[in-house]
Symmetry: C2
Subunit: 340 residues, 2 copies
């Protein structure tokens, strides 16, 4: 599976920016793939890229229509179906992050079959995987882990891809969530995989590679989240990371969606090393990434300094202060990967 | 979902006893539900219960045909389909542990629809679950955990159900694997659930109950198995057990299907307590169950004595020596649950 690029971003007539969050994420990280946007009357989101008709998009070489929006109530509105069918008839593939499967809509299924086009439902996984084997495979791997869900694990790993490449590393982002799959054009929404195959799917996402190549694997959930820890553990075992970065949001008091308090960064490091050692005894932390958005700059800097000293690790806010300090630590620990 | 009892056990024409392993397990633990068996010419398995035609089974009050066999190559042979359709037409539901979904065979799907009969594919899960909440719910819970897969977790929990009931406890087996689902008539094959819902499915399997009621939850895999640890952790968090029993097979040198050595019982206890504390801070071990089949009796007894002393826990082989010592420990630790 490899979603063909470049993309035409379909926004429908979403009522606000938040409903198009996935689309914004794709444009942020892969602007070169996002040739234009297709908006219907009443659309309240704007990606800041050219508005194109399907015909104009085809003329510009677009290969796939990306439905990177959330539809209210889970039902695909008729006028969205019309646009999707038109894209298929114009020769585009369609990739969607909707809960509704594209192929479950007869008009869409028929148009795709007629034209021999691909439909991708990145929120679902129909791929068959083997169970994980846990055997060490060549190549370096880094995983982002968290004190909670939604603490910047995807952002951090994408920032590291950029920073490590700039430093001369051969490094690739590996997606495990739906927005990430659009950003990389491949990958699997790991939380949609059948439970028996979590680690096996991650082994498939990040296969054997050249010894100094880095796979930068998007983490999910937290080993301490009572809803999703199973996903996080299978992901850790399948990723068999050499290095991990702990992501954290310092103002959060309860874990997302539940009543549990957040674990400390130290607890996360300890349990990640303990469990991760099963498939990679060399696992170690290489940094702390903190979302300091809610803090004043001086307060943010003080917190990061404190965390760096307490854990003997570079600590940064990737959005505010970049990831240079973490890249530097990786270059020190794994010098063979840096370009001469 | 509740599979209607009693059962007619369908064995088809399986070539050996092993192919009917699930059926033997059901007869072992629920003989009162297994009214008869239906075998086709050439069948090499025999459950030791009466051979019945479908008509005879219906006359005896049977409600469900159980396909508790493995078919070679995953394809359902035509002569099995004929028997399954005949059962549906005679008014029985059909429950299957085959990889092939019953409803994917048009003749079976049509016969079920025509007669309004239920089809159960216990190896698959189409049930919708919420994500786990991790909130402590009333009722006592015990989970079996393991140093590996296939070390007697189901057997132990079923033996404990029998032993605890005999001691006056109000205790119910809760199934998380396919054979277990047939044995309890309900439950979910937890490894078939979508990853995001592992702990939520276990919360559904073992809902809030009376304060002194015990749910005895079938464990799966091992926190130390690189293929399946995610399932085991989600199961642990969803089960939020007060008590757990460690199951072990002392002659095994590698974990099932992989190259990894087995963890020690101490490691399993430590990590289970550490991770299980997230949803139940009162979690504690109450026994060790060892499959000593490969050992001479004196050797087995010596090993169990050693393990009991080393861990300060009752250690037994449930098959060879029963589970009385573990039940006794539970009665001592949780006296309120014992009948007066």
């Amino acid at each position: 599976m490899q979603i063909a690029t470049p993309y035409l971003m379909f926004l429908g007539d979403v009522p606000d920016r938040l409903a198009a969050k996935t689309a914004y994420g794709i444009v942020d990280w892969r602007p070169e793939w996002c040739v234009g946007q297709l908006r219907l009357p009443g659309c309240a989101a704007d990606l800041g890229i050219p508005d194109l008709t399907i015909e104009e998009a085809v003329a510009k070489g677009v290969r796939t229509l990306i439905v990177g929006v959330v539809n209210a109530g889970g039902v695909l509105p008729d006028h969205w179906i019309t646009s999707i069918v038109a894209a298929l008839e114009a020769g585009l593939d369609v990739a969607s992050g909707l809960h509704t499967r594209l192929g479950s809509i007869p008009a869409i299924a028929e148009a795709a079959a007629r034209g021999g086009r691909q439909l991708y439902d990145v929120r679902h996984s129909d791929q068959r995987f083997d169970t994980g084997k846990g055997t060490k495979r060549p190549g370096r791997r880094l995983l982002t882990v968290g004190t909670d869900c939604s603490v910047g694990k995807k952002y951090t790993v994408l920032a590291l891809e950029k920073g490590m490449r700039a430093r001369g590393f051969d490094a690739d982002f590996r997606a495990t969530g739906q927005t990430g799959v659009f950003i990389s054009g491949r990958g699997v929404a790991i939380d949609a995989v059948v439970a028996d195959f979590i680690s096996g799917a991650v082994e498939w996402i990040s296969p054997a590679a050249a010894p100094e190549h880095w796979d930068l694997i998007e983490g999910q959930g937290s080993l301490f989240h009572p809803s999703f820890a199973g996903v996080s553990l299978g992901l850790l075992h399948g990723a068999q990371p050499d290095a991990f970065v702990v992501c954290h949001e310092p103002t959060r008091t309860r874990m997302r969606g539940v009543q549990h308090p957040l674990p400390s960064i130290e607890e996360v490091i300890d349990l990640t090393v303990r469990c991760g050692s099963l498939t990679n005894p060399e696992i170690r932390p290489v940094g702390i990434a903190v979302n300091t958005q809610a803090l004043e700059e001086a307060e943010a800097r003080a917190l990061l300094e404190h965390l760096a000293a307490a854990h003997d690790l570079p600590a940064t806010d990737p959005v505010r202060f970049g990831v240079e300090s973490i890249v530097e630590r990786i270059a020190t620990l794994y010098p063979a990967g840096v370009a001469a």
